[in-house]
Amino acid sequence: MSRRQVLLIAIVLLAACALPFVVSSYRTFQLTMALVYSIALLGLNMLTGYNGQISLGHGAFYAIGAYAAAILMEHFGWPYWATIPVAAAVCLVAGFLFGLPALRLEGLYLALATFALAVSLPALLKYHHLEPWTGGVQGIVILKPDPPFGLPIDADQWLYYFTLAVAVLMFVLAWNLLRGRMGRAMVAIRDQHIAAEAMGIHTAMVKSMTFGISAMYTGVAGALGAIAIQFVAPDSFNIFVSIMFLVGIVIGGLASISGAVYGALFIQFVPNIADAISKAAPWAIFGIFLLGFVYLMPTGVAGAVRMAVARLTRKAHNQPKS
């Protein structure tokens, strides 16, 4: 990373830390949800953006993570923070196992298989033999965590900082992974899987690992989301969640780490803006926004930002020195 990038990230982080003191607790809550979505989008982006596998079912992993956290807190009395690694592990395994057979499926067929997962999960959560654990359609209500060590902040602010810390950790890990061996292998498989195999990449292994890691990220997001919302129920995880994740990564920018943040802000705030513009047809307005973004920023927000920065710096360089 260049010095300027480090500086930029530091500024963004500082701003992120200052935000809860500037905005209302309702906005803080919304920003917490945006952070949660950004982790989920990062996970999906690894799979779809970097590895070229389409998933229409990441809402299912989001749900599994959420339920893992809720069940551990409700039935076993675990503290909220301890549920995150478990949710991650459960989803890693679930994703890896789902990825193994799914490997035989390419492109749209994989999309359909993951779609099946997403549509069936809410029904499974209502299944009466699981009801003692999942609470059936009633779901599970979770208590909101209070800030520890007597910190002079409210519960919303604390949850925001907690989520921010997890998000930063997850982003650093992703950044490490994606610019290393694994990341290069993922991209190679996406671009030319035969060539990648010829280079000695274990395609099957890399693909299922990617699926597992991607699911793990989404699971972590699910657990954090459940803690922030304080409630899980099958109706919270319909197929629409998966579709919105896909919308988020395309709008944010495929194969881009920062794109996850832009995409998360989009799926968190644009539906509300659309609702404010028209009560009668909020989704039509949302559609217009979507079309606008796709046409104006064909490489996602991240791509547009990159281009703008490149143009600005070029201009700055070209300016004659006086």
């Binding site: 209302s24 607790s25 309702y26 906005r27 809550f29 919304q30 949800m33 029904a123 209502k126 299944y127 009466h128 059936g136 359609v137 009633q138 779901g139 209500v141 989301g225 919302i229 304080q230 409630f231 129920a233 099958p234 109706d235 919270s236 319909n238 629409f240 609702d275 009560k279 909020p282 989704w283």
Partner: protein
């Protein structure tokens, strides 16, 4: 310093003594001399969007109230958001209403899962969560959740009404029950069994189904084989239609009670077949907009005039629009009673002090009564029987 204390004491004494102080205007966030802000969350999009019309009827109702000068001189500002029947969105919208828009109360948020998601939040924040649009019994918990109140007859109440009718008319009945295996079905079943009390042995067979089941045919065959002559059918519309048809086609033909949830002519009886539905028994508590008996009823005429003027695009055959009107009138009554004391605590107090209140479009004889320990506004219903064309009301009002 001494003087200061003395003056405060004097002021306090004056405040306590003078009757003017009692009538003083008192406000919580969301209310002032000019405006009362009411929040609402409805599924205008998503799987339950058919119910979105309730929110639109209510918005139209407040528009009419405002055109007539508002409530005690204050205009109603009705803020309604879409949650698409998704609980996380409901949480976000409830927080937006309470923290951002600073509403006095949230009224008529719809659906059991969405309301479950905000149940605790509303009670921790101590913001009235009034007349929620769901029939679960848990909204009537005055002790545990003193800031939440339901409105419609809850499923247990209705279950008890059928039990009462069976005990009175057919004390030797052999009852078969089909119920949906979730909180809704179990709520009904519990109310029904509570109503049978020591006669619970009359139930000879209970079978359940999952929402994911394709049909309930095998369940009906089981019930028929049990020798039951009375059938309590606790199902949602699709399954209700299947059950009605199968019970007729197998030649079982029991005395058939179907829950109010599926007492719909268009979506249940029509697909099941009108001739196969003759004799079905269910309940009602509001006037049916399609009922010929109310064609010249003055309150229904008023309702139609209201619809024509304030909600012309609304469907005049949709019972949800009658429901919205009735529940909005109840809220209106609470605000009227609250007078100039528009604190959240007083709103709850007034909501829990409704005495023999009757929204215009409610069936004759049904009244709304609440108290500090009774958070279930409507607790009686009218039995109805299907005559092959429409529901006919019969017998007295049953319930409290």
């Amino acid at each position: 310093m001494k003087l200061k204390y003395a003056s405060i004491a004097a002021l306090l004494a004056a405040a306590l003594a003078s009757p003017v102080a009692i009538a003083q205007k008192k406000y919580d966030p969301g209310a002032n001399d000019k405006v009362i802000k009411i929040g609402n969350i409805n599924p205008y999009s998503g799987p339950a969007s058919a119910y979105g019309t309730i929110g639109k009827t209510i918005a139209a109702y407040w528009k009419m109230v405002n055109d007539h000068g508002g409530v005690n001189g204050r205009k109603i500002e009705f803020i309604s958001y879409d949650d698409g029947y998704s609980p996380p969105k409901t949480v976000e919208m409830a927080r937006r209403l309470v923290e951002q828009d600073q509403v006095l109360l949230i009224f008529q948020s719809l659906g059991t899962p969405p309301n479950s998601a905000i149940h605790k939040y509303m009670n921790v924040k101590k913001v009235p969560h009034l007349f929620v649009a769901t029939g679960a019994t848990k909204w009537n918990d005055a002790k545990g959740f003193p800031w939440t109140m339901g409105w419609q007859p809850n499923y247990q109440t209705e279950g008890r009404i059928y039990a009462e009718h069976i005990l009175k008319n057919n004390p030797k009945a052999k009852i078969g029950v089909l119920y949906q295996n979730d909180d809704y079905g179990k709520d009904y079943l519990k109310g029904f069994k509570d109503g049978l009390a020591d006669k619970v042995g009359l139930v000879v067979k209970e079978v359940s189904y999952e929402v994911t089941d394709p049909t309930v045919d095998s369940q009906i065959v089981q019930l028929q084989a049990s020798g039951a002559d009375t059938f309590f059918n606790i199902t949602t519309p699709k399954f209700a239609a299947q059950a009605i048809r199968k019970a007729y086609d197998t030649g079982w033909k029991p005395i058939h009670y179907v829950n109010n949830v599926s007492a719909q002519i268009g979506s249940v009886l029509k697909p099941a077949g009108f001739e196969k539905s003759i004799g079905l028994i269910s309940t009602q508590y509001l006037k049916d907009p399609d009922d010929e008996q109310f064609k010249d009823d003055s309150t229904m005429k008023e309702w139609r005039a209201f619809m024509a003027k304030y909600y012309p695009e609304g469907n005049l055959h949709d019972a949800s629009n009658v429901y919205g009107y009735a529940v909005a009138q109840t809220m209106h009554q609470v605000l009227k009673q609250a007078g100039d004391n528009l604190t959240r605590a007083n709103i709850m107090k007034q909501a829990a002090s409704l005495k023999d209140f009757r929204p215009d479009v409610m069936l004759p004889g049904i009244r709304i009564n609440t108290s500090a320990t009774d958070f279930a506004p409507i607790e009686s219903e009218q039995l109805i029987r299907f005559d092959g064309e429409r529901w006919q009301r019969f017998g007295p009002i049953i319930g409290k």
